[in-house]
Amino acid sequence: MEEKQAVPILEMKNITKQFPGVLANENVDLELFHGEVLALLGENGAGKSTLMNILSGLVRPDSGDIILNGKKVDISSPKDAMHLGIGMVHQNFKLVSTMTVAENVILGLDNEKFILDMKEVRKKISGISDHYNLKVDPDSYIWQMSVGEQQRVEILKLIYRGAEILILDEPTAVLTPQESNELNGIVKKMTAEGKSAIFITHKMDEVMEFSDWVRVLQKGKLVSVTRTGDTNPKELANLMVGRDILFRVEKKKSNPGKVILELDKVFALNTKGVDALKKVTFSIRAGEILGIAGVAGNGQRELTEVITGLHKITSGKLVVEGKEMTNKAPLDLIRAGVSHIPSDRVAMGVVGDMSVASNLAMKEYRRAPLTKYGILHPKRIFNMAKGMIELFMIATPSPLTNVKFLSGGNIQKTILAREIGACRGLLIAAYPARGLDVGATESVRKDIIAERDNGKAVLLVSEDLDELISVSDKIAVMSEGKVMGIVDAETADIESLGLMMAGVSLEQSGEKEV
């Protein structure tokens, strides 16, 4: 252990950054050692992303120093960071969706020749792919890829550019347990080769598994520095929020009413023209939460989108509260009482360049009292927003701040507040707690269960099996567009769910169907 006390390769000293209304970082210190993984822990808005954005050149600190390999450096752009061997995988990926993997990888590189040798690039990408077991097709377009695949492209991009220090902003939030394990393997391999990583995560078991050191931030301040081996998840969680956390959500027994949502042998194509949903049949009753488990890219996105009218059903029937709604427009489904927390909250859930108040009104603006005879009442919108901001504890300098300036967790709370407010029968929640900290996750889950207790039917799509088991009443497992089986959440165990996720049907796995 003595050699670990050696000089850190990276030091951040006394970093302070003030945003309008928020002190994002206050005299924060950070040290990263050669070949090690540092976990950065903290609630939404604790300043982790800001700190990492400073390191990757997106944001300039108001004061403080960055020392790399013993030399003070100035990082004023992501390009500077890249030249210094620092690369970051952001929560919201920075990929050009209309370009291929290979094109994205070389985008912005200045040592490429004028005439691109794409063959060489592809070869190099394949080389990295094989070496680190990062499965990606260099010729795939980004828009065709699942979130998990896009993340692999981001990591590959950094390795291609020769990053020595990798910053991963909540990387496992979008991954399945298997993919997380793969990522763990990739990171281990890289650290074994002398690279270092900073890892932002909320999952305690991953902190324990992935990292060598943990630093905990709370409201912009550093509150703890420990070796991972010297701490435990419970202690970290307490440090992070400053109070004890319930890891299990408490909920009453469900009291299902009439059938709200029915899917009957639904088929749908994906963007590549291949069947993404195959004969999907299930129903959800009022006061019931159906969880959808599965590895990302197995039809979950298409499933939520056909129910919300955003994706075409090629055959089969969709019935909401007794009315057939197959291939109706999104507005018709909204009118039928369907609320939707979309999987990609920034791209689909909010309009970043509009205010928090406007975003909170984006479902209800059609109706009185917010609109009368087509005329909006900004004052009423503002007041409604103020109430919702308080109720859902959205941290924003003002209701008139543009949503894009909020942290990921607060953006999600904004969406949740709006969708729950507008929900009248069915709530579709896709990965609602993805990337949220422990405190916010807990409140999101509680809100969803409260909706169930209010008599709403809820469809919860998640990759977190613990979440599915603790929040849902029933769990349907999807694999390659098919429902492999529906089981009672109380009696479900992770192994048999895992088997179904891998494509083994319920009968084969031996669990009893409900």
Binding site: F19, P20, L58, V59, R60, D65, K72, D74, S76, T308, L310, A329, P330, L331, L333, I334, R335, H340, P342, A347, M348, G349, V350, V351, G352, D353, M354, S358, A361, M362, K363, Y365, R366, T371, G374, I375, L376, P378, T401, N402, F405
Partner: protein, 358 residues
């Protein structure tokens, strides 16, 4: 010491106001250099431009004559730009509106009550402009055809149709070969209030106010804002993207079409060569300088019109080449586009001291 750009944390309200003003000053400076190359005194030139455009009431009415179509087309394209629909076809929409208004004025007026001629000409011209803008909108929505090319090409189509008509079937038989139609009957003349300045100004101001209310205070305006800033989220929220784009473009084209109606009914009183002097293109500059705000478009239009009138003036007085006016216009857009950077970014000066970490 060095200077870097840093992204702002919020959009600066001050910058939104200051950027157009400073850009304008910068462009005056740049044009000044150009004038020096032509061995002309820039201060003298600007002074005579100012006098030419705003110096006397008569001169100012001429500026208004040019400002009215710029106001309308500026508001029209501004609406489309808010949806990120690049309608650069205001010129064609204006011309086609003028053509259809001419049709009403020349061929319908004998058969309808006198009081109906003007309103009907205005409505018909607006429908014509709407259709002309509707073509690229429908093509874009249904087949994803690029709107820039279609709207641009349709400008030439409209201009050619107008030419074909006043050189051909609609040519004034008593016009001694002059390319233009017969003079409209007086009942089809839009009244002027001073000099050639006409009551189209009232329409322009009214439309600016209505557009402002629509954009900022109505359900529809809210939906347009969502579509312009995040169409994907808008569709998730149940907003119909396609039909809204088409409706907005019909409105956009109708407003530009109205500008064409006024040009023929209030200014030339006939359809003739030179119906539009590139108003539809200058409208793009007006819209951007006004930051797509319809009310600001009114004032920017007056400024740009002043530049056109003043430019004509210096051509005559200073003996500068005729193309100078157009060069001036173009020179104004560049600093404007560059300056828009400052609404999202700010300059930060890093001193050597700071860099050394003292």
């Amino acid at each position: 010491m060095r200077i870097i750009f840093e992204k702002r944390n919020t959009i600066s309200k001050k910058a939104i106001l200051l950027v157009p003003v400073f850009s304008f000053i910068v462009s005056l400076f740049l044009i000044g250099i150009l004038l020096l190359i032509f061995k002309t005194n820039p201060f003298l030139t600007y002074a005579s431009m100012y006098v030419g455009a705003f110096g006397t009431w008569m001169n100012f009415t001429e500026t208004l004559v040019k400002a009215i179509p710029l106001m309308l087309t500026g508001i029209g394209v501004g609406l489309a730009f808010r949806l990120r629909f690049w309608n650069i076809g205001a010129e064609g929409q204006l011309v086609f509106g003028g053509v259809i208004a001419t049709w009403v004025a020349l061929f319908w007026s004998p058969f309808i009550p006198a009081w109906m001629v003007l309103p009907l000409a205005i409505i018909a011209g607006m429908i014509a402009g709407a259709l002309w803008a509707g073509i690229p909108a429908v093509l874009k929505v249904s087949l994803n055809v690029d709107e820039t090319l279609v709207s641009l090409m349709l400008n030439y189509v409209a201009i050619m149709i107008a030419q074909g008509l006043y050189y051909g079937p609609w040519r004034d038989p008593d016009g001694f070969g002059f390319p233009g139609t017969k003079l409209f009957p007086q009942i089809a003349w839009l009244p002027r209030f001073s000099g050639r300045a006409h009551y189209g100004l009232l329409f322009a101001v009214l439309i600016a106010l209505i557009m402002w209310v629509i954009l900022n205070r109505t359900k529809w305006g809210f939906e347009l804002k969502m579509i312009g800033r995040n169409p994907r989220a808008a569709s998730v929220m149940g907003v119909r993207i396609g039909s809204n784009i088409i409706i907005a473009l019909l409105v956009s084209g109708a407003i530009s079409g109205m500008a064409g109606v006024f040009e023929v009914t209030a200014i030339s009183h006939r359809l003739q060569q030179g119906l539009s002097m590139g108003y539809g293109y200058t409208a793009i500059i007006v819209a951007w300088m006004a930051q797509l705000n319809p009310i600001a478009s009114l004032f920017v239009a007056i400024l740009m019109a002043g530049l056109l009138v003043g430019g004509d003036q210096v051509q005559m007085m200073m003996g500068l080449p005729a193309a100078m006016g157009l060069v001036l216009q173009g020179m104004i857009l560049f600093p404007m586009l560059a300056g828009s950077l400052f609404t999202d970014f700010k300059l930060k000066v890093i001193s050597n001291k700071e860099e050394a970490g003292v």
